[in-house]
Amino acid sequence: MTNSLRRGSIAIVGAAESELGLCAPGTTPYDLMAQASYRALADCGLQLNDIDGVFTATSQARFSSLGLCEYLGLKPRYQDNTLMGGSSFMSHVAHAMAAINNGLCEVALIAYGSTQKSVSRAAASPREYNAYETPYKPFLPTSAYAMVAARHMYQYGTTREQLAEVAVAARKWALMNPVAWEKKPLTIDEVINARMVSAPLTIRDCCLVTDGGGAIILTSAARAKDLKQKPAYVLGVGEDLSHIGISGMPDLTVSGAAISGPKAYAMAGITPKEVDLAMLYDAFTINTILFLEDLGFCAKGEGGNFVANGGIAPGGHLPVNTNGGGLSYCHPGMYGLFLLIESVRQIRGECGDRQVPNCEIALAHGNGGVLSTQATVILGGQGN
């Protein structure tokens, strides 16, 4: 294991989004994966036939690595379509590191595509039947996160306004991202007074429903040095799986990020204080608060205060979700790959108005299901 997962041993060398937002009728998840894959290849200067490892996930296909390989005409030496929701791609980064370090492949492609806005969320991501939850008709995933928010408010005094701060901060960052879905400012009052979906969460506490895809390309640190772009080295990875249904989550106020985060920090040899950018999977406003706590940016229960008064907005004490997040930039259903793409771009320094000055270390934290799977990747501008 120690040999498989080594700090700085691989790097993300190419990164790109596909078309985002709303695609033309008939667009498939594979169209988006293929478009993002070729854009990521162009970004790093590699060719399709350089790719010998393929890692994919989408809610719209069971055999997505097979589907993408057929589409592109690839016969990779190694493939993996691990599916654990929105954090799948962080897990793919860890798996790609192990595969590259063990000689199973040399150049890994991680790709994602979703047309959930075009085909509807119900069609893109049908809910599995749970005999002990489904009969009560929770509106999932929202109701699960709503109960997490309610419990966090009860236990720590987190306020409705503090939840809204997360959405407002995301919107402020999104206004500096030309490809973000949302284009208009948002106020705390607008979040609180928006249509209630599952109390205490309103529609503005919930991520967007968009189409979209992305791709990143990874290779060994040695090979990365000779490519077009500044490498974003993978310094640390950590994963945790806990529960499939929200009724199985042991403590609604503590996520598996409290396990995946410390694993990633230990591998990277850093502390939260050294993180310049935190990309935290904001499927709902409560997520950001929970992950700030569980990843050690503040103490448990202090997340609400941390985000208050623009704490994570531009000019705040920590840049969080600078692309505008799942709340305001894009959210095709399994958003984790976009956290990695933004982290790479910030480390390269190509983010224009929203660029974090001297962004050396970025943390990308993925979440899947109903806080069910957590995976953390720490990237750095310097390898070993």
């Binding site: 005999a131 009969p135 009560y136 008709k137 929770p138 997490v148 109390a199 009724s247 609604l252």
Partner: protein, 128 residues
């Protein structure tokens, strides 16, 4: 303990049979731990489990109100049942917005649209 015979009955089938008889059942491990949802073996140990009936008293651990376009707002909650396990359910007999974390609740069986009885909870009269 004998291996669970899935050709004869499933954990969910047994649980639902109890529900139809107005009984809330859960499983207990040899070491005394309450297990829910029903399984063929205990988590972590793989030990066999025996069925027990719950007194049906519990405390609301968390709660939400769902505002659907198709029906009136309704409650979904997580209940910490006194025997030591947590389950999803609904709290009824009170406005959904008035369900509070920490509220004491009592189980009752309710017939759902599929014609089967499921456990829901109402505020505990003793506590009111």
């Amino acid at each position: 303990m004998n291996e669970f015979d899935l050709a004869e009955a499933s954990p969910n089938g047994i649980y639902m049979d109890y529900c139809q008889k107005d009984q809330l059942a859960f499983q207990r491990s040899p070491s005394g731990k309450a297990i829910f949802y029903p399984r063929i073996v205990e988590t972590k140990t793989g030990e066999g489990l025996r069925w027990e009936l719950s007194q049906g008293l519990g405390t609301v651990y968390s709660t939400t109100v769902i505002y659907s376009r198709d029906e009136k707002p309704y409650n979904v909650a997580l209940i910490d049942v006194d025997e030591g396990y947590r389950m999803m359910s609904r709290v009824e007999g009170v406005e959904p917005e008035h369900v509070r974390i920490g509220m004491r609740v009592q189980v009752r069986m309710k017939t759902f649209d599929d014609g089967k009885k499921y456990p829901i909870f109402t505020p505990d009269k003793e506590a009111l």
